[in-house]
């Protein structure tokens, strides 16, 4: 039965620099980097060597633990470098792209007429499986998983996130094909969760064969973890899948055309961007092609992903595997005098979830926030803060403390299987004590996965 989910707890952070719904043109990137670090709890094993030729969709590396899960190349070209970090950890595979992309050819397929096993095999072969995430843990799905249900959040409620209605407009065919694929993977339902006010495009409204649920309320209402919690909370031992809306269309198009087309629309936003707008680019593309001449100042934080959960990248860095937006905000690496900009000032430029700065008197103001922590890390003092932005029946602060002390049983009891680090992003944002909540949750999930599988 379709559900109506009203999220009350949460916070929309009003940031400057939301992408206008126009499509900018960017120079095509000449090199592409696929980063194994975009996958959580993932130990990459290389399938290619430097100097080797690859096609778009041919596998680059696989997960050591689950070898049938492979990650494909977004473009065709030559593997020019395996970028390694400390202890020879693989940070990226760099590909010098051909002018014209050549694809690893697969036959066009109609998922509806295939068996579940065939669909799964096709996803694994065509390197599409990597787009499917599993809960618990928020890692790439395992091929032996039997998901109770599959969840698709049609909207991203994070600040400055791209608008899926705009991005997927006119892609009804691909999106529906993707849904047909996902339907073959589960005996349960495929849930498509739409925002009551934001999602109006036909691509979502006319989706067939899926359970459409309506969500309303502020961020994190778009987090699939929150939606799962309200639709059918996950118990220990259960597995569900989650796929991002854009990736559903990508999977669908790969089945329709037989080509692994990793191009996507990316929202370029943030207060340091002169003209925030959308760009058509390809996963792993060099971000500098998007930023060319469009960024103010030279001391900026470039984020692949959104400002709450994204990854910091260098100016010559590359778009992440799952990133649907690039945000550029000023770095906050200057000290702030307490009476003017610091803790004792009026704080008109500071955004806060509570009303301790006078900026609360301007409810429609958009903020130009930098990366300063706005205070030092402290012991947890204030209570009730996390709860006010955490719309799940879970005690976030108690769960964090359970993780800090490494008590696995307590973590399980308090609901760690239902959360992902992104669900704690707002807790981390509002925290007076500047606790690294997302990192703590990730460590907890890694520990649980290691100990409990």
């Amino acid at each position: 039965m379709s559900k109506d989910i009203k999220i009350k707890k949460g916070l929309n952070i009003p940031l400057e620099g939301e992408a206008d719904k126009v499509l900018g043109t960017a120079e095509r990137s000449s090199t592409f980097v696929v980063k194994p670090t975009d996958f959580k709890n993932f130990t990459p094993k290389l399938l290619v060597k430097e100097g080797e030729e690859v096609l778009a969709g041919s596998p680059l590396f696989f997960n050591k633990e689950y070898p049938d899960v492979k990650v494909g190349s977004p473009v065709s070209g030559e593997v020019v470098e395996v970028i390694r970090g400390a202890k020879r950890k693989i940070l990226g595979i760099k590909i010098l792209a051909d002018k014209e992309t050549r694809y690893a050819e697969f036959a066009a397929a109609d998922a509806a007429s295939m068996s579940g096993e065939d669909v799964k095999q096709r996803l694994l072969d065509q390197c599409l499986w990597a787009y499917i995430k599993r809960r618990p843990y928020g890692t790439v799905a395992r091929s032996e998983d039997k998901p109770l249900a599959i969840y698709i959040s049609a909207f991203d409620s994070a600040p400055l996130a791209g608008d899926n209605d705009y991005i997927l407009h006119g892609k009804e065919k691909e999106f529906q094909a993707g849904l047909e694929v996902l339907k073959q993977l589960t005996d349960g339902k495929v849930h498509l969760n739409l925002h009551r006010q934001l999602n109006t495009d036909a691509v979502f409204k006319d989706a067939k064969g899926v359970e459409i649920n309506w969500v309303s309320g502020p961020h994190p209402s778009g987090n699939v973890g929150v939606q799962i919690h309200h639709i059918q909370p996950l118990n220990k031992g259960e597995v569900v899948f989650a796929v991002a809306a854009q990736d559903v269309a990508l999977i669908g198009s790969a089945f329709l055309t037989g080509k692994y087309d990793a191009s996507r629309l990316v929202a370029l936003g943030g207060s340091s961007v002169k003209a925030p707008k959308y760009f058509k680019t390809i996963q792993g593309a060099s971000i500098s092609t998007l930023l060319e001449g469009n960024v103010e100042g030279d001391n900026n934080r470039i984020i692949s992903g959104n400002v709450l959960t994204g990854t910091k990248v260098a100016a010559d860095g590359n778009l992440g595997f799952f990133s649907k937006e690039v945000n550029v905000i000023p770095e906050g690496d200057t000290a702030k005098f307490f009476l003017t900009e610091g803790w004792a000032g009026p704080g008109l430029a500071k955004h806060s979830a509570n009303r301790s700065y006078f900026s609360w008197l301007m409810p429609s103001k958009k903020y130009d926030l930098d990366t300063n922590t706005n205070g030092e890390a402290r012991a947890l003092v204030v209570t009730g803060q996390y709860e006010s932005v955490f719309p799940m029946d879970i005690y976030p602060q108690h769960l964090l403390k359970a993780i800090m002390i490494g008590d696995i049983e307590l973590m399980e009891n308090l609901g760690i299987y239902e959360v992902d680090d992104e669900d704690f992003a707002l807790c981390e944002y509002v925290c007076t004590s500047k606790t690294a909540a997302q990192q703590i949750v990730r460590e907890g999930l890694e520990l649980i996965e290691k100990e409990c599988g």
Partner: protein
């Protein structure tokens, strides 16, 4: 302000690695504390969310202090007002305020001096940064002691509370009992003659017989013994006469900052509007106090039990305790459900202790301290309820599958 920032960097340089006084590098902690007071550090986010809320512990604490300023100012004025009115001497506003200033300011200085001194010492010894918790405690303590408290007693009680109630548990955020109330409880049990009775609440009351410093609650507890049967009787009995508006505005004897409900309500408004104080605790404590008061009113078997339930809220330390002490997030219950229970029981027990305890007319201090101890237990059961719900969900599911 660049020069100031540079000055701090210069001051730290000799203590840093390779500097002249490298082996005294613990001093960095102290310099850091002052530097971060003047400048929010250049620290940027490294993991997780790239942007952070503007709030920090310094802002939080300074708002609580700001909320206490009306109480402090009125307390200074009332110290002089009580003194002169008991003596029957006419005095100007400034003469009254001056008495308070001269008496209260040293208390504030001693409270902060001793408390922060110990905090800095522990921070340097343990090598962590100086946290802001004491900034509020240091202001709370002067507001909950009698105006004539000898400063050495105050210093000892502050030292006791900070060391044994806070630092031994790990410092800010780790304490079980409210530090300011512990300091007051220490004074109460170690030096009872300076903390209770009818001589201490008005300046010079100990030395000048012309001053009767009896508090309303002190008078009320006399009513319990059957000496007087009504509020009118109380006034006849004690010779004191305080109207309800005196009680509300605070023109009554008592600890420095606790008397004016109006000033406390201004503070409460600041805490509630900014969202720093918990409205759940404040509201439920008032409900709890009212409930107990009403129960007593219903039976009314002695004078004190007949005292109007709503008047309980505007005399003694009830309002101050509920607004500033019970809401201390570290020692209160942490879950929202727990906060309702915690607050309710504080109010309930505060009035109960007032009426039943023969030795001590005020109950809010003991009620809050007791509930501080109980808060983790309340939270435990609230969280346990959540856990049970989750386990039940799992067992129902498993049963359905089987």
């Amino acid at each position: 302000m660049k020069f100031l920032h540079t000055a701090f960097q210069n001051a730290k340089a000799p203590f840093e690695e390779g500097g002249k006084f490298e082996k005294y590098n613990k001093a960095l902690t102290a310099i850091d504390a002052f530097e971060t007071l003047m400048f929010t550090p250049e620290e940027v986010t490294h993991t997780g969310a790239h942007i952070r809320d503007g709030i920090d512990l310094k802002r939080t604490m300074s708002i609580v202090i700001l909320a206490m300023v009306p109480c402090l100012l009125f307390g200074m004025y009332n110290a002089g007002y009580q003194h002169f009115s008991q003596l029957g001497v006419d005095a100007s506003f400034w003469e009254m305020f001056q008495i308070g200033l001269v008496k209260v300011l040293p208390i504030v200085v001693v409270s902060y001096g001793v408390g922060l001194g110990i905090e800095f010492g522990f921070a340097m010894y343990k090598g962590h940064s100086v946290e802001e918790g004491y900034l509020v405690t240091g202001m709370l303590i002067p507001l909950i002691v009698p105006v004539d408290i000898p400063l050495w007693m105050l210093a000892i009680s502050v030292a006791f509370a900070v060391v044994f109630c806070k630092e031994v548990f790990g410092g800010t955020g780790m304490n079980i009992l409210n530090v300011a109330l512990t300091s007051r409880a220490f004074l109460f049990f170690a030096y009872p003659t300076y903390m209770s009775g009818d001589k201490i609440w008005v300046h010079d009351g100990m030395t000048n017989d012309a001053i009767s410093g009896a508090t309303i609650l002190g008078d009320l507890s006399a009513m319990k013994d059957g000496l007087v049967k009504s509020a009118d009787g109380m006034i006849q009995f004690t010779g004191a006469s305080f109207s309800v508006s005196d009680m509300f505005l605070g023109f009554i004897p008592g600890s420095v900052g606790e008397t004016s409900v109006l000033a406390i309500l201004i503070g409460a408004a600041i805490l509630l509007i900014t969202g720093i104080g918990s409205w759940r605790i404040m509201l439920s404590a008032v409900i709890g106090g009212g409930t107990m008061g009403l129960i007593f009113n219903t039976f009314g078997s002695n004078g004190l039990m007949q005292f109007d339930w709503w008047q309980h809220m505007i005399v003694g330390g009830f309002a101050f305790g509920v607004v500033f002490m019970a809401t201390d997030p570290v020692t209160a219950a942490q879950t929202n459900k727990g906060k309702w229970i915690y607050g309710f029981l504080i109010g309930f027990m505060a009035i109960m202790i007032r009426v039943f305890n023969p030795a001590y007319p005020e109950g809010i201090m003991l009620a809050i301290l007791f509930m501080n101890v109980m808060a983790p237990l309340i939270d435990h059961y609230v969280v346990e309820g959540n856990i049970k719900k989750r386990l039940k969900r799992l067992t129902v599911k498993t049963a359905a599958v089987n």
